[in-house]
């Protein structure tokens, strides 16, 4: 029950996802479609599980007055500030959750979190981007050429610079990415088959 059924479920879903590609018969398609739609629903539940887990862990810390509980309280309050009006009034245009809360808290917070990385990338450029080896030199030189070539005045630096950057992106970079893609594809195919056939079971945990 604890291991056999999950392995069987994985096998059924995995096999139908593969078989539908090779046998486009309506009977196979119908079953595959149904399984896919079930998967979409279960995946949506998993997102809610993630949110519930965040709430559970932080709620417990608030209840026990654990370290940083006041911050956790902020998190719990923010969660309900969004969920309660969101579930009753909706999240579309014209609702308080969208026009006020989401627009004026989530968007600036998320945007600034990611924008802050610009500062750390600058710091890393100064402290860590050392040209110690041949490979590091190639990496640094390419980075500098690409950065110069993708700004509006690149053609003023050298008239062929934008074309050279296009070449770098579409030839040597594409070759490197292709090598990585082919390698990753082989790995993904092998892992996928191992999972479906029950050889790879680490996702089931220890018991």
């Amino acid at each position: 029950m604890k291991r056999e059924i999950p392995i069987l479920i994985t096998l059924i879903f995995g096999v139908f996802m593969i078989v539908q590609f090779f046998i486009p018969h309506p009977a196979v398609n119908d079953i595959a479609n149904r399984l896919q739609n079930w998967a979409i629903i279960v995946i949506a539940f998993s997102y809610v599980l993630g949110s519930a887990n965040i709430l559970r862990i932080n709620g417990e810390l608030v209840y026990r007055r654990g370290p940083g509980w006041l911050y956790k309280l902020v998190l719990v309050i923010a969660f309900f500030m969004m969920v309660i009006p969101g579930m009753f009034l909706g999240i579309g245009e014209g609702t308080w959750t969208n026009d006020r809360l989401f627009t004026n808290t989530y968007i600036p917070l998320a945007s600034t979190m990611y924008a802050s990385l610009a500062f750390f990338i600058a710091s890393a450029a100064f402290r860590a981007f050392r040209v110690r080896t041949w490979q590091a030199s190639v990496l640094a030189l390419t980075a500098v050429i690409v950065m110069l070539g993708r700004i509006p005045i690149s053609h003023m630096i050298w008239h062929d610079l934008p074309n050279v950057v296009d070449w770098v992106m579409n030839v040597p970079n594409a070759v490197a990415q292709r090598g990585i893609l082919i390698g990753a594809a082989l790995g993904a195919i092998a892992t996928g088959l191992k999972v479906i056939l029950g050889i790879e079971r680490s996702y089931l945990g220890r018991e």
């Binding site: 149904r34 539940f45 998993s46 041949w134 990496l139 390419t142």
Partner: protein, 219 residues
């Protein structure tokens, strides 16, 4: 009212930026508020966009009673919170793992493997590029000569660096060096483009602060 909410957004931006000076309570509040709002938003978005249209409505209207299966499987995910019956959550997890594993096998094989290899099945050398270069010896025409050798021999060198578990010495070392050099060009390009993204995001924040909120600069 609008300026009030705009100021909330402005203060949220400053709260996150304050981390650059040092870690501080204002940043921590913003960080936790962000996670709470995000977690809440995901619940609402899934409710309106997936649960209602794909599960609840067809189930309650009687158009598809089979949907009781994904409903039960979805609810079974929450048994993870229990020590005794937590193993039941493996069933819905298997649905997710099985679906993605099956799709990945075909997706990676047809989308990445076959077509990427196919795109490199070209002549190793294109004589026309040399005659073009001899007619007009420009940098771009020279680089054009390298295109086909790189897509064929260069790709082999990259793959050689990845897959051959023999020691890279002697003549093999040179092949591996070509492979790593191409990879470094790829990583360098990756760094350059990452910088582009980060600066774009940062400029947007300054645009919001100085143009939209404080209105001390104009677009």
């Amino acid at each position: 009212m609008d300026f009030f909410w705009l100021s909330v957004a402005g203060l949220a931006t400053i709260a996150v930026l304050s981390f650059l000076y040092n870690d501080n309570p204002l940043y921590k509040v913003a960080e936790h508020f962000f996670v709470g709002i995000a977690a809440g938003y995901v619940v609402c978005a899934e409710f309106y966009n997936v649960f209602l249209p794909n599960l609840w409505n067809p189930l309650t209207s009687g158009t598809d009673y089979w949907l009781v299966i994904p409903l039960l499987l979805g609810l079974a995910l929450f048994t993870r919170f229990s020590n005794n019956i937590g193993w039941i959550s493996r069933w819905p997890m298997s649905v997710i793992i099985g679906t993605y594993a099956g799709l990945a096998v075909i997706g990676f094989a047809s989308g990445d493997m076959v077509l990427q290899v196919q795109a490199s099945l070209i002549p190793v050398f294109e004589p026309a590029t040399v005659s073009k270069f001899s007619g007009d010896p420009s940098v771009m025409n020279f680089l054009d000569i390298l295109k086909n050798p790189l897509f064929t021999l260069g790709l082999i060198a990259v793959l050689f660096y990845f897959f051959f578990s023999v020691e890279h010495k002697g003549g093999l070392k040179h092949i591996a060096v070509v492979g790593t050099t191409l990879l470094m060009i790829g990583f360098g390009a990756g760094y350059g483009y990452t910088v582009m993204t980060r600066i774009a995001l940062l400029f947007d924040r300054f645009y919001f602060l100085f143009v939209e909120w404080l209105q001390v600069a104009s677009a």
